[in-house]
């Protein structure tokens, strides 16, 4: 969704770099973008659509970006045996389709992913369509940012497939960009009022995200890198932590909030808290604690939203791993209605059977 500036740089090049393979379909899903994607595709990519190399699908239903759902939708529109997700900011490099064909021809029971060196490339996962349907796609409970790819990879591995990492860097080009572009089309980003921060100690803080609609999300964030910093001997032990930051609780606690004459009231976790204004407009107080205010639209708020979004998804991934879950989305995935190649008179209904991300899906026929 709304990643046309990236597509302008990547998609035509990606198509041309793989054109001579022949048995290839590019699927571009426009997840209700409002940044001129349709106009761009008509103007710049028409020749590829006419030749049947590119299929442009558009859904006008989603209001916000949903990584997992958009990917599932695009994958379901694919008709080939192999499906590869190529994010809008990715370059495939020359001959990538030949490479995929070769690896899958020579190996049974595999899927392809990228290493851990660059998070911008985590989305590049290639699998047989049958394997995608077997695990029932990306987990659509993951409404935040990140980890949906890692969760899919974990479940592909759990289903008995062997992971092969793409080693050739010429296939792994990417446009570098900031985190805001990753989350700006999420509902949380549009509806954040402010974040309240209660700094507990040198490695933990309570964060309360106040949404404009009165919802709130609360959780205690831990900085694992300095959790043991008071221990003189910690440096002599090898203390590993998988992530620099984590949530103390299993997941974010939800609740609601409102304003009254003197400040705000919070209702969450079975408690009610009244916070009053302080001398400064930068914080609120209750009887014992100070809650600093981080206003929406600031760099810190963006950082907080990105973090909240990631931790939300990470919690689901960990749950899937702990339960050794292979199949997700029991009630269906990638559902919705799309139009194809600007034909607004005919729609494809994906609500039955088995697309805002602007991901191009490689589809080896």
């Amino acid at each position: 969704m709304n990643r046309t500036p990236h597509l302008r740089e990547t998609i035509a090049k990606n198509i041309r770099d793989n054109l001579d393979f022949g048995r290839l379909e590019f699927i571009l899903l426009d997840y209700n973008s409002s940044d001129g994607c349709e106009f761009f595709v008509k103007k710049e990519l028409g020749e590829f659509i006419e030749k049947g190399i590119l299929n442009y699908y558009k859904t006008t239903e989603p209001r916000f970006f949903h990584h997992s759902h958009s990917r599932n939708m695009a994958f379901r529109l694919a008709t080939g045996d192999l499906i590869c997700n190529v994010d809008a900011d990715n370059f495939t490099g020359f001959g990538f389709a030949y490479y995929l064909d070769k690896v899958f021809s020579e190996n049974e029971g595999i899927f392809l992913a990228t290493g851990r060196s660059c998070s911008d490339l985590f989305g590049r996962v290639t699998m047989r369509a049958s394997d995608f349907y077997n695990i029932r796609g990306y987990d659509e409970r993951m409404t935040g940012y990140g980890f949906e790819d890692l969760d899919l990879i974990n479940r592909l591995s759990s289903s008995g497939l062997k992971r092969i990492n793409i080693a050739d860097q010429s296939y792994l080009g990417v446009i570098r960009h900031g985190n805001w572009e990753r989350i700006c089309n999420k509902p949380e980003s549009m509806f954040l009022d402010s974040i309240l921060v209660k700094q507990i100690d040198f490695y933990s803080s309570l964060l309360i995200f106040l949404m404009k609609n009165g919802d709130l999300y609360s959780g205690t964030v831990l900085d694992n890198s300095c959790r043991h910093a008071a221990d003189p001997f910690a440096e002599l032990e090898s203390i590993d932590f998988p992530y620099e930051y984590s949530l103390l609780e299993e997941s974010w606690t939800t609740g609601h909030w409102d304003r009254d004459e003197d400040g705000i009231r919070l209702f969450y976790g079975g408690q009610t808290k009244s916070l009053r204004g302080g001398i400064s407009s930068y914080y609120l107080r209750d009887d014992s604690s100070t809650f600093f205010i981080v206003e929406s639209g600031t760099d810190m708020a963006e950082e907080g939203l990105f973090f909240q979004s990631q931790l939300f998804n990470r919690a689901i991934m960990r749950l899937n791993s702990a339960k050794k879950t292979e199949k997700v989305n029991a009630s269906g995935f990638g559902q919705g209605i799309v139009s194809r190649n600007f034909d607004d008179g005919h729609f494809i209904n994906l609500h039955y059977g088995n697309g805002i991300q602007m991901a191009t899906q490689f589809n080896l026929l």
Partner: protein, 288 residues
């Protein structure tokens, strides 16, 4: 080959306005005693203000002594900070981090690792020794005054110009021009616009400092630390001069970056200051 020493990293959270007394009354006596007892080979000091004002001290100790050393370190500074607490710094609003600052008057451990360069072992060793000598200079030069940003920057200029003087005296021909090009290359377009204004502002100061360095100083004066520091700069430059020219300049740049890092001068600012020093010094040389 595995070394018999290892670096241990501590961060002493203390109000910056009282760092001078911490350096002279806390850190220096501890390090002297530990060195005398043969437990400490070297130490390196960094000023730092991430998550609270603190002085980082990394200690190179014998691996066989690491546990007793850490126990002693912890006891010593717990006692010292209890007896000489600094005043808590003011809360800066709006907050800049979700996680709060570390509490003042406490020691924390392993919040950083000393940066390693990609140099050969002999150069790496020489650079660590240089950083250690600079830490000594920091303790002596900054012991008497409240450590404000202006003082830190002046100290950096003295230290940097001394290093630069050694470089120009001891380097093979052609190095000065290459260094000038390298420093200029490090500047961003934005910096270039600021440089002329800074040169106007700094020119007299740089002249005075350069004269101080060239004329030499008595050990008993406020600039007495410069004598030992000049030796440290010459030692590094002599070793470095035997390297191929690009590596020689690399080592000089790393040494200069160390001075900025240890005094907590932001890298963009340090590059501007460095260019000012290089330009002023080279012009001065040519003027001679």
């Amino acid at each position: 080959m595995e070394t018999e020493y290892r670096w241990l990293h501590s961060s002493i959270f203390y109000n910056r306005r009282q760092w001078n007394s911490l350096l002279a009354g806390g850190i220096a006596p501890f390090c002297s005693a530990a060195a005398r007892e043969g437990r400490l080979k070297r130490f390196i000091v960094h000023f730092n203000e991430q998550r609270g004002q603190n002085v980082r001290v990394a200690f190179e100790v014998k691996k066989t002594f690491e546990r007793p050393f850490l126990a002693r370190l912890s006891d010593y500074f717990t006692n010292y900070l209890g007896l000489h607490p600094s005043s808590p710094p003011e809360q800066i609003l709006p907050i800049r981090n979700f996680i709060g600052d570390f509490p003042v008057n406490k020691v924390f451990y392993h919040l950083y690792d000393l940066q390693r360069s990609c140099l050969n072992p002999a150069c790496e060793e020489a650079l660590q020794e240089f950083r250690h000598k600079f830490s000594d200079a920091m303790i002596i030069a900054l012991a008497e005054e409240v450590i404000e940003p202006d003082l830190i920057e002046t100290f950096f200029l003295y230290a940097g110009l001394t290093l630069l003087a050694s470089f120009l005296d001891l380097s093979p021909p052609g190095c000065a021009a290459d260094l000038r090009a390298r420093c200029l290359q490090n500047l961003g377009q934005h910096d270039l616009h600021r440089i002329e204004r800074l040169m106007m502002e700094f020119s007299n100061v740089l002249h005075e400092i350069t004269a101080d360095i060239r004329e030499g100083t008595d050990s008993g004066t406020a600039l007495g630390w410069l004598n030992n520091w000049r030796d440290a700069c010459r030692n590094l430059t002599e070793l470095s001069s035997s390297l191929d020219k690009p590596f020689h300049i690399d080592l000089f740049m790393l040494a200069m970056e160390s001075l900025a890092s240890q005094t907590n001068i932001p890298i963009s600012r340090s590059r501007i200051l460095m260019w000012s020093m290089v330009r002023e010094t080279l012009d001065f040389h040519i003027g001679d």
